[in-house]
């Protein structure tokens, strides 16, 4: 994989962290710094196309500042990479509308933006999450719109002795590349994943759409959901650009009610995510 914005403070720090975790970082991209090497001796290129051609990288993690991030993502789509992980927070919505459209007309998958990235514990991480809280070679997948709340959920799973197959932060923005549904479809086909944790929050209808998908596609693996923002006021952006109740729509209460109406286990408390999954998995074994 390659790192866009590898010479920046964040990009540089996390490149080192990812390499330590076992991720194969083969290139960096910072315009006008092509030909140089970063502190980890990773070659830097001026363009994504060049980096791909010279190193064979098929994935990019984007640490580019918000005003240039959409352009960086479009560059990856143009270079026909397989996967983009966009960490950047604060990309203008109008820019993301263009990126989303370009993604729909390509074969590129994008995770984020405004997300912690993706990790397969014990194998590799492309993101900024702390690796050590994860438990490798497990049987539960995690999909989340949040960052640190994902770590909280993963930590609870690990404490309950439940390892994770893959954990994905899909991002807290109103427009994101990969949705709950896209990933549920992948987890459905993944023989190692036996259960899925979904962490949603106020704003939009992504959780409801995921729940409908689960029902329509006979997704038989246990699902535990938590929706953050039960106490959030209406009309206020709760940190994440996408976490806003607009005109009474997108409340946690509505989402929880809807998910429960489709028989999905929804935790009231964020402290019960791990234990709820354990209960469901144990029930599956005994029955």
């Amino acid at each position: 994989m390659l790192v866009q914005g590898i010479t920046g403070k964040e990009g540089s720090f996390h490149t080192n962290q990812m390499i330590s975790y076992g991720t194969q970082v083969v290139a960096g991209v910072t315009p006008s710094k092509g030909g140089q090497k970063n502190v980890n001796d990773i070659p830097i290129f001026n363009t994504v196309a060049n980096a791909k051609k010279e190193t064979g990288a098929n994935t990019s993690i984007v640490f580019v500042p918000p005003s240039f991030a959409a352009d960086a993502c479009l560059e990856c789509i143009d270079a026909e990479l397989d996967l983009i992980i966009c960490i950047t927070e604060g990309i203008p919505t109008k820019d993301m509308v263009s990126v989303k459209n370009a993604l729909e007309h390509s074969h590129v998958r994008m995770i984020g933006p405004n997300c912690p990235g993706i990790i397969t514990p014990g194998v590799a991480k492309i993101g900024i999450m702390p690796g050590f809280i994860h438990k490798p070679y497990g049987n539960v997948g995690v999909i989340s719109r949040s960052g640190t709340l994902t770590y909280e959920a993963v930590h609870q799973l690990s404490c309950a002795n439940i390892g994770q197959t893959t954990c994905i932060g899909i991002g807290g923005d109103p427009i994101i590349g990969t949705t709950f549904i896209d990933l549920l479809a992948l987890f459905k086909e993944d023989p190692e994943t036996e259960g899925v944790v979904i962490i949603g929050e106020i704003g939009g209808t992504a959780e409801e759409e995921a729940a409908e998908w689960i029902q329509k596609n006979n997704f038989s693996k246990p699902v535990v959901a938590f929706i953050a923002g039960q106490t959030a006021p209406s009309g206020r952006r709760m940190g994440h650009a996408g976490a806003i109740i607009s005109k009474g729509k997108g409340t946690a209460a509505d989402k929880m009610k809807f998910l429960r109406s489709l028989s999905i286990k929804v935790c009231d408390s964020p402290a019960e995510i791990g234990i709820s999954m354990k209960t469901l998995l144990d029930k599956r074994i005994t029955s």
């Binding site: 203008p92 912690p116 807290g172 209808t205 709760m238």
Partner: protein, 386 residues
């Protein structure tokens, strides 16, 4: 970011959307002068606050002649306007818009928002103008007509035409509506709006289409490229503690409860508020301190939380990933030795270096309560607040 009606109308006017002639007024004198500048005696005095439902709350009044305008303006300026959107405390009126009254034959609705599911902006119109559009959406959704904007192109003329005919417009009205819709889209696109709403958009006796109201919100993430919009920000519409927090890059939203919260990450901050509520307390705020929880950040966080007199206890919940818990712990200890925190502080640190953080906290002189997990933290914070 939100702006006032009169500011929105100036953007509309510049883009070629017809709006009634009018002038903002910050004083009674300016309100009376505005009547002189308008070629009419019949005007509307409109309170300018960032909330809807002003009419029902007494914030929109018809006035005939300068004397009545003076009276209305005098009553309205400084009044506490309560609407269904302001909450029970209401908002103080500090600005007025004085504009000419219009001869209305029909009231319509027009709006542009992001359709999150489709990843596109959507232009909506309805024949049911002048009423709450949420009610129309809930009761008669087929009365809202939508056109999605192609991300690679602008709104097309045919789309504006479809909308105009679907509203049952005729003759010159159609031409005027098309021009108005295309101009509204231009405003939305050019200024990175997140919402435009005109309710009502009216047809006058002379078949003109006029934006009688304007509601515009902007995408905060795009404000960096719109200096002229940033200058329209009215700080008096915002919570002083939130403006203060913004200076330190802290994401703070004031709420009505008694348990102050300081958390890293927006999702975890919301979840912390939720678990406080589940254990019988009420969160006093949302506060995301972000990735850097050092002594300065924590100290600023304490000051902002404590500026709210309702706060009876403070819960610090940090999940250290890249942020090391021992550094956060040291930050909390340093902050507590620098500023006077007169309410109980409950700390829960988990993640990177949590154990050495716990040692640090235990051996510190300062008085605080250490929680072992999220649930324990919430219980203790609520218990101390009560």
């Amino acid at each position: 970011m939100k702006i006032h009606e009169y500011q929105g109308k100036s953007l509309f006017r510049n883009a070629g959307v017809l709006v009634p002639n009018g002038f903002p007024a910050f004083s009674v004198e300016e309100a009376v002068e505005a009547v002189d500048k308008l070629n009419t005696d019949t005007v509307v005095v409109k309170a300018q606050i960032h909330a809807g439902g002003r009419g029902k709350g007494g914030g929109i009044k018809l006035a005939i002649g300068k004397e009545e305008v003076r009276q209305r303006a005098d009553n309205m300026l400084g009044m506490n306007l309560v609407t269904h959107q302001t909450g029970p405390t209401g908002k103080q009126v500090q600005r007025l818009l004085i504009e000419e009254a219009s001869d209305i034959i029909r009231e319509l609705y027009a709006g542009i928002v992001l359709d999150r599911s489709r990843g596109r902006f959507v232009f909506m119109v309805s024949t049911e103008g002048g009423v709450e559009i949420e009610e129309v959406a809930a009761e008669t959704p087929d009365k809202i007509i939508k056109e999605w904007i192609n991300p690679n192109a602008d709104m097309r003329s045919y789309q504006a035409r479809k909308l105009a005919f679907s509203l049952g417009l005729e003759g010159a009205q159609v031409k005027h509506a098309i021009k108005t819709f295309l101009a509204l889209w231009n405003v939305f696109r050019d200024y990175d709006c997140s919402l435009i709403e005109i309710n009502p958009l009216v047809i006058t006796k002379s078949d003109e289409i006029i934006a009688l109201d304007s509601k515009i919100n902007f995408d905060d993430n795009a404000l960096f490229r719109h200096k002229e919009i940033q200058e329209m920000r009215d700080l008096s519409e915002e919570e002083p503690s939130e403006i203060e927090a913004d200076k330190y890059n802290l994401n703070y939203i004031k709420l009505d409860g008694t348990v102050g919260c300081m958390v890293n990450g927006a999702g975890l901050a919301m979840a912390t508020m939720d678990i406080i509520k589940l254990h019988g307390g009420d969160p006093a705020n949302f506060l995301d301190v972000g990735g850097v929880a050092n002594a300065d950040t924590v100290a600023h966080g304490f000051k902002i939380i404590l500026s709210d007199p309702n706060v009876k206890s403070i819960l610090i919940n940090i999940f250290g990933g890249i942020v090391r818990c021992d550094r956060v712990a040291q930050g909390v200890i340093d902050a507590l030795s620098r500023i006077d925190v007169h309410v109980p502080v409950i700390i829960r640190l988990e993640g990177t270096n949590a154990e050495s953080a716990s040692e640090l906290l235990k051996s510190a002189e300062q008085d605080f309560i250490i929680a072992v997990n999220l649930e324990d933290a919430a219980k203790k914070a609520v218990q101390y607040a009560n």
